[in-house]
C-alpha cells in the first residue's frame, strides 16, 4: 500500500485526513483511488496537481510507477516563467 | 461626425540620402520617423523599435557621424545626410571586431537590443578608442538590455577596443 500525504487545501477537502494508504501501482490508479475515497477532492485532482513519489516530482505522468512502500505527496503543478 | 468622410492622404516628401555608403531614395510622410522609413519603407529591419521615445536605444543609427535614436529623427531630416545602420556594420562577409567580440563573449541573449548596442559601441570607439569601463557604461546607458545584466556586453566592447587598437 502506498502512503499518500495530503496537506493544506487538499487535506481540508479530504475531510481533514492527513495521510491515507491506497492500493495503486501508478499515478493514474492513485488519482482514481483518491477520487473514489474523497469525492470532494476528485474535481481538483485533474486540475494541476503534480505527484511526488518518494521525493521526485512527476507532472502529467499517469504511468509513473508507484512502489508498494512509496510515499506520495500531491503537490500543486509548477509551470514557471 | 460623418462616418463616410474621406481620410486625408498625407503629402509625401521625396528624400535623397546615403545609407551605409550607398545612395538611397524614398518617399515618406512628414510624420514618419527615420526608424519607420528604415523598417517599413526600406525594409532595413535590423534597427528595432523598443519604445519609440528615445529611451531604449534599440533603433540607434549613426547620422552624419553622430549616434542618434532613429525613432527621434524624422525621415525627411535624412535629406542629404549620411545614415549608418547595423546592416552596414560588417565589411562584406567580414564581421566588424565588435560583432565578433559580441559573439565570442556571449554578449547577447535574445538579441533584440544587439544591433543598437553594436551601433552605439561603434560610435564610441570611433571617438574614444581606449575607453574605461565607466566610460563604456555611461556611453551605453541609453541602450537597454534586459537579458544580460550588461556584464558581457561591456567586456565585449572593451575587448574589441583593445583588439582594434592592435593590442
Amino acid at each position: 500500500m502506498a502512503r499518500v500525504i495530503l496537506s493544506g487545501t487538499l487535506r481540508d477537502l479530504a475531510g481533514g485526513d492527513a495521510e491515507v494508504e491506497l492500493e495503486a501501482r501508478d499515478v493514474r490508479q492513485l488519482l482514481r483511488a483518491l477520487g473514489e475515497r474523497y469525492p470532494e477532492l476528485a474535481p481538483h485532482l485533474e486540475q494541476g496537481y503534480a505527484i511526488a513519489i518518494d521525493g521526485e516530482i512527476f507532472q502529467d505522468a499517469w504511468f509513473a510507477p508507484i512502489g508498494p512502500d512509496s510515499e506520495v505527496h500531491l503537490v500543486p503543478a509548477i509551470r514557471g516563467g | 461626425m460623418d462616418g463616410t468622410r474621406k481620410f486625408k492622404v498625407a503629402t509625401k516628401h521625396h528624400v535623397t540620402t546615403t545609407i551605409n555608403g550607398d545612395p538611397a531614395e524614398f518617399l515618406c510622410t512628414p510624420e514618419q520617423t527615420l526608424l519607420d522609413v528604415l523598417r517599413d519603407v526600406l525594409y532595413l529591419t535590423g534597427s528595432k523599435e523598443g519604445c519609440a521615445s528615445g529611451d531604449c536605444g534599440a533603433c540607434s543609427v549613426i547620422l552624419d557621424g553622430r549616434l542618434v535614436c532613429s525613432c527621434l529623427v524624422l525621415g525627411v531630416e535624412a535629406e542629404g545626410r549620411d545614415v549608418e545602420t547595423i546592416e552596414g556594420m560588417a565589411n562584406g562577409d567580414e564581421l566588424h571586431p565588435l560583432q565578433q567580440k559580441f559573439l565570442e563573449h556571449a554578449a547577447l541573449q535574445c538579441g533584440i537590443c544587439t544591433p543598437g548596442f553594436l551601433v552605439a559601441a561603434k560610435a564610441l570607439l570611433a571617438r574614444n578608442p581606449d575607453p574605461t569601463e565607466t566610460e563604456v557604461r555611461y556611453w551605453l546607458a541609453g541602450n537597454l538590455c534586459r537579458c544580460t545584466g550588461y556584464d558581457k556586453i561591456v567586456r565585449a566592447v572593451l575587448d574589441a577596443a583593445a583588439e582594434m587598437r592592435g593590442n
Partner: protein, 288 residues
Amino acid sequence: MDYRAPASVKEAVELLALHDGRAHVLAGGTDLLVKLRGGFVAPQVVVDVKAIPQLRGIESDARGFRIGAATSCAELAEHAAFSAAWPGVVEALHLIGSTQIQGRASAGGNLCNASPAADSVPAMIAAGAICQVAGPAGEREVPVEKIVTGPGRTSLARGEFVVGFRLPKPPPRSGDAYLRLIPRTEMDIAVVGVGVSLALDDKGVCTHARVGLGAVAPTALLVEAAGKALIGTRLDAPALAALAAATSAVCKPIDDKRGTIAYRIKVAGVLARRTAAIAFDRARARNP
C-alpha cells in the same frame, strides 16, 4: 502635418507667424517627436530650424560665447574652450538624456520645451545666460530665466523663437557646476537639479554667486537668497547650511511619480551644498 526647413531666421519667423499657434519649432526633436507620437501635439507644420546658420555652432570673442540655439549638446560638450569656461553648463547639457539624445538635443529645445525639470536651464540661469529671441519685430535679448512661465508655457510671442544664447566670459577665480538627483545614474528626468556659478576675490571670499534650481517649482528658479548666502563667505559650513536652507525654502514642488514634496525640498538643499562646493573648488583652481 507639413515639414519645412527654412534657411533663414526671417523665413522661419514668417512660417511661425503664418501658422500662429499651429506651427512647432523642430530643433533636435527629442521632445517634439515623442509628443507627436503620443498625440500630445498636432501641429500643422513643423519648422526645422537646423538649416539656419545662426542656429548652429559656437562662437567666442572677448565678451564671451554665443551658442546657436539648435546646436547639439554633443557638439557643445566637445567644444574645448566652452567646456573649460562653463563646465557646469556643459555638464548640465551633457546630462540631457543618453548619448543618442546628446547627438540631437539642444539648449534651445531644452529651454523651450518648458519642462520644470530641464537640466540645462538651472545651469544657464546660474551662469547668467542671455537668450536671443527672434520674431516679427526683430531680435531681442532676455535673461534665460524669463523665458519659461510655467510647465509647457513660455513668454515667447507669436512668431518668436529662440535663436541663440550669450554667455559671458567667466571672470577670474570663478567656477560653475551642476548636479541633479535621479533615481538611476542616467536616462531619468531630474528630481531636483541645482546649478551654481560663483566668483571669488583674491582672498578666496565669494563676491558673486547665482543659484539656479530646477524640478521643484513650475519653472526653473533663480534663487537670489541662496546666492546671497554665499557672498562674503569662504563657503564654510554655516554658509553652506544657509545656502541649503535658502534653496529648500523656495521650493514649491509637487508629489509625483518622480519624487515627493518632502524629498525634493530636502534634496534641493543637499544638492545646492554639494554643487556650490564643486563650483568653489573650480573657482579656486581657476586662479589667474
